[in-house]
């Protein structure tokens, strides 16, 4: 009897253990399928995560945003970064506000630190995972590209309700995986 109870509650745990990863997937699939697409200019560098494998760390251009006057922020605070696209289609963070915007596209972000009237934001799109041998090469591909004054690297991101999900990383107009394969 007691063992039966243990097994029934254990099965509940099994469902929770499946439900949490499942919801992580669904939330991102939803954004990838129905979100609006933005391109962020970026620079990749290659570190390593013991648990999750190798990735290229991304340094987005313009993730330092001017804080509008009269707004007091502290580090760690949740904020909303408004996005607009320039003529070439690249996204720019235009300003930071502390209330959810009504119509404009935005990313929900955290203030990493403040310096002067600028806020450095944690946008939650700072890693791009790659196969273990490809990740170091990705950095090389990027450097070759930027030297030739060609098109740099950008990150294609889908955003829905302020939640960003990375779609792909492009270098010189090619997906980074293809660009890495091309130099082999």
């Amino acid at each position: 009897m007691r063992n039966k109870l243990i097994i029934i509650t254990f099965i509940c745990l099994v469902f929770v253990q499946i439900a949490i990863p499942f919801s992580m997937i669904m939330k991102r699939e939803f954004v990838l399928r129905s979100g609006a697409e933005f391109k962020f200019k970026t620079a990749p560098v290659d570190p390593y995560d013991a648990f999750r494998g190798r990735y290229v760390a991304l340094r987005l251009e313009g993730d330092e945003v001017t804080v509008s006057r009269g707004l007091r922020l502290h580090s760690g605070q949740n904020v909303y970064a408004l996005i607009s696209a320039d003529e070439q289609g690249y996204a720019n963070l235009t300003s930071v506000i502390d209330r959810k915007p009504a119509n404009e596209p935005y990313i929900q972000a955290k203030v990493r630190y403040l310096s002067g009237d600028k806020a450095k934001l944690d946008l939650g799109i700072d890693r791009y995972y790659m196969e273990e041998k490809s990740a170091p090469k990705a950095e090389r591909v990027f450097r070759q590209q930027s030297r030739g004054d060609k098109q740099g690297a950008y990150l294609s991101v889908k955003i829905k309700g302020g939640f960003p999900v990375i779609q792909a990383l492009y270098v010189g107009g090619k997906r980074i995986e293809d660009a890495v394969r091309a130099i082999n």
Partner: protein, 438 residues
């Protein structure tokens, strides 16, 4: 009496009977008196150890395989694949619960494996969807999903993984005191299992491991989450925590016979001694007077955010004080002198604005009393190890003071020789005395 001793005695009995030292009747009576030795526990311990190590290695291997990042698979395939290790682990655990509910080895191994597979699964999803680098959140999600296994499977290694995980998480939240302090309620979840494990005789190896990890994690988490409750307060907190360890280590539990099986006692006592020795140094108190905080306080954090840390620090102090009171009531001299350190420390902390001479005098005197009390206790109980521990402590105090002072090398050298000779003389005379007492 420990099991090895009884086993040896049983092996000797036939020989003793054959040589006429004992008659068969006495030999039978001896066997009756000590009862059967449970040889089953031996295989069980081996099974638990091997099963767990195997599960641990396989689990880590799978995590590494997934870390390779198989980019030739589509996003959908990888999303489905994320669940495979998890479901295998769950199936294995369920099978053990249904078919082998009595086997501790199976339960420990399956629970360990499943704990790692939960991590593997979330890691693979993070990889597939490029989930940002917040390692803290990743670890916390993982830990919250596995802690029920500690109780479902009565397994200690998931508890070890959980403790290490929440400590790492607490460390990653060091800058926000309100979050870091959640380590304590999270760690409290393990306490019933810890007490259960301490009471079970045959689990000594894993209980030892659990105790060790508990000591290390609690010490680290104190640094991450509590030391900033009040500036310089670590001089009270660490003594309180090590006094609690030491008190728990002195409690008698069945089956814990040798010193290494009781890390709480060994590390608790050693920690208290090292802290006392540290407190006899001037720079500690000068640091506290000048407002050096051991870890810097986040300037942006509002004052109220330290309230939970202060509450937990206060509770730990109350606990240390209660244990001290309990030991004092039982006249437990082994604990009283060591366990008094947090009380002395809090007194000195309250007087920290006085010249540094005051704490220095107090702690030099305290360490002196402490080591002499050990020596006397050892003499009373005829315990060479306790006497030697006391003498070592006394010698350490004398030597550090000698090195602090401007005495010449000749005198320092002489002091070393005299202390060494004293050690030898006391031990020789004690061994003789104890031999004579037999």
């Amino acid at each position: 009496m420990n099991k090895k001793g009884i086993k040896w005695l049983y092996q000797e009995l036939p020989g003793l009977v054959a040589r006429g030292v004992l008659n068969q009747e006495t030999a039978d009576k001896i066997q009756q008196y000590y009862g059967e030795i449970k040889s089953k526990s031996q295989t069980s311990v081996i099974l638990i150890t091997c099963g767990t190590i195997g599960a641990l290695l396989i689990g880590l291997g799978i995590i590494l395989l997934l870390a390779h990042n198989w980019e030739q698979f589509s996003r959908f395939t990888r999303a489905v694949l994320s669940f495979v290790p998890l479901i295998i682990g769950q199936g294995l655990a369920l099978w053990v619960l249904m078919k082998r509910p009595q086997s501790n080895g199976f339960k420990e191994g399956a629970a360990t494996f499943l704990s790692l597979m939960v991590g593997a699964s979330i890691a693979l999803i993070s990889q597939t969807y490029n989930i940002p680098g917040d390692t803290g959140t990743f670890i916390l999600t993982w830990m919250l999903l596995i802690f029920p296994l500690i109780y479902f499977m009565q397994a200690s290694l998931p508890a070890v993984i959980y403790l290490i995980g929440i400590t790492a998480w607490s460390g990653s939240r060091g800058q926000s005191p309100l979050e870091a302090v959640l380590f304590w309620p999270l760690a409290a979840v393990v306490v019933p299992h810890f007490i259960w494990a301490l009471r079970r005789e045959i689990y000594t190896i894993r209980t030892t491991l659990l105790s060790l990890v508990m000591i290390i994690c609690v010490s680290c988490a104190t640094g991450f989450s509590l030391v900033r409750a009040w500036p310089g307060f670590w001089v009270v907190l660490f003594p309180a925590i090590y006094a609690i360890f030491y008190y728990l280590g002195l409690r008698r539990f069945p089956g814990l016979t040798t010193g290494w099986q009781r890390p709480l006692r060994g590390i608790g006592g050693t920690g208290l001694f090292i802290l006392t020795l540290m407190f006899t140094y001037r720079y500690i108190w000068e640091g506290i007077r000048s407002g050096y905080h051991f870890l810097s306080i986040d300037e942006g954090a509002p004052a109220f955010s330290f309230l939970p840390a202060q509450a937990i620090a206060f509770m730990l102090m109350v606990l240390a004080a209660l244990f001290f009171y309990d030991a004092a009531k039982r006249k437990d001299l082994a604990f009283i002198f060591f366990g008094g350190l947090p009380l002395v420390a809090i007194l000195v902390y309250a007087l920290r604005d006085n010249p540094t001479v005051v704490p220095l005098l107090i702690f030099n005197a305290y360490l002196f009393v402490l080591s002499v009390s050990r020596i006397i206790l050892g003499l009373r109980n005829n315990s060479l190890s306790v006497i030697n521990a006391g003498m070592l402590m006394l010698a350490a105090l004398i030597l550090v003071r000698l090195f602090d002072s401007d005495i010449g090398f000749i005198l320092k050298g002489l002091a070393f020789i005299i202390l060494g000779a004293g050690f030898l003389a006391v031990n020789v005379s004690l061994v003789r005395r104890m031999g004579g007492a037999k």
